[in-house]
Amino acid sequence: MADRTLVQAIRDALLEEMDRDVRVCVLGQDVGLKGGVFKATEGLQPRFGPDRVLDTPLAESSIAAVAQGLALEGYRPVAEMQFADYIFPAFNQIVNEIAKVRYRSNGDFSCPLVIRAPTGGGVRGALYHSQSVEAYFCHVPGLKVVLPSTPADAKGLLKAAIRDPDPVIFLEPKKLYRAARGPVADGEGALLPLGKAAVVKEGATVSAITYGYLRAVTQEAAVRLEAEGISVEVIDLRTLRPWDQSACLQSLEKTGRVAVIYEANRTGGFGAEVAAELAERGFAHLDAPVTRVASPDVPAMPFSAALEHAFMLNTDKVAAALRRLAEY
């Protein structure tokens, strides 16, 4: 077990998988010479060379398309989009091509690749370095979507994503890149399965289902509520597509109260899907409406510290929402 930040864990996963499998390669803007704008690929190019760690032109559609071409030829590419906000030029390649290759060829072709992108806000990144884009991709059959929140999860899930036979969108909460630190296993011991949620804290009164940066916030809120006599169960989804419905339903059946807490703006966010599914399947066990706790429906997160603070969920806001739900 080594002590690692989340971004170091990402880098360790890439390095280990590249060591393990010569088909694994990395491409994107600034991933080579610079080692990534967040240093997620630091030291990889000196070790593996300029082909396996390829600096691409500033053109996201072709980053995705070239990764697809490599995957179709048997490589296991890991493409980096510098910020999730800039993934949209690649949207056509991801949704119309990468996600549909297996289905449209009736299983003759597959496209195993990973597209990594730093996501989320709270770093004064403003409108174009803070967006939460997961809902766009969770809507797409053929894609898997992962959004880890601890160094151990980031490493274990990235290794699993690289080995997965299907395309994976791997979103990394940039606010946690250096803020999250913890013990991380080496090699095969680090592997984690996709599609499994983590029950972060057990509780009896309210189920708080979350992911990404808000896992830590929700945990803090749960500790605060515990002192008030409200027992909160905190679940980190970790993988959003496919998401762990049985773990969430199990918790719902125990508590009868569910809040889904997500950083994206409220309408059409991935939490809305979780809420709808749980309301439909768990209705008989519910003592209160399934509640979404999300960011406001404004285009994106403003630059001003005051406006950013107003946009972001925090411990106070999450605790207040969970308290209201417990008292319903």
């Binding site: 398309a65 071409g69 490599l70 030829e73 390649q93 053929g142």
Partner: protein, 330 residues
Amino acid sequence: MSTPAELDGLTRERVLWAYGIVLRARYLDDRRFILNRAGKLAFIISPRGHEVAQVAAITALQPGRDRFCLYYRDFAAALACGFTPEELMLSAFARAADPSSGGRQTPGNFGSRRRGIIIGSSAVGTQIPKAAGIGLALKWRAEGALCYVSFGEGATSQGDFHEGLNFAALHHCPVIFLCENNHWAISVPEARQVAGPGVAARAAAYGIPGVAVAGDDFLAVHAAVRAAAERARRGEGPTLIEARVLRLQSHSTDDDQRAYRDPAELEAEAALDPVPRMRAWLLAVGWLTEPDDARFQEEVAREVEAATVAAEAAPEPDPSTLTRHVYADG
């Protein structure tokens, strides 16, 4: 006039093989149109006018070794790459045994892993940067294979055209970019689609050869693609070829170009149909005789009839397979 043993390095046998593919494409397409008008086929995209250019290009390449990213009008190219008439009819009827997609995609999205035909989609231009990525993999593998990618002139307006050519040129990827310029993107003419002196001229911006050829000239298209293939296999990088062709049919069976094109121009273009022109050329050089041609055409007509009967009788996909192949485990 004496009959040549070879023309531009091509044997009589090879060229007659290509002519046979061109004939099959034309006969199949005619049959598909009748079946569409009879309500038996939902949707067809015709290669009419493109056949000679498509087959000439593939004849210069190595199906089985090379990769092919075809687009939806590449019906004759798909035949030249190894698809059989029956397989293409299975696709037209959206039958379970359609080898490209099991009836999931509209006919024209060709794919076959064992033949190196990379499954396509209907999204215009997406195959262009994908071919650059395939080319990068082929360059890394250094086995001398190349990737051929084709598209219409409408696709050259997409950002993916620029991104793909830029990437392939930067990395000297073994890719042949072939634009089948038929001057019409549904109803939008080339004059409102392509700025500047034409598609081929754009190659200069990437520092790669750009070649424009008459798409009804079998030898010219073949020579341009062969030169591009030699360059790619030598590790010198991509080439952009613009084959100027005619669209002798509407964009698709859901379009009627008589509604937006000049009747006199359509009539003039019909007289320039490349299929009879190829036939006339082969008769002129003595590689084809009238009786041989008649026998060929009879054989092709029989083959197309048999393919149609077999495909129509083939079973539709089982509805229970709707949810299969979304992921590896399903």
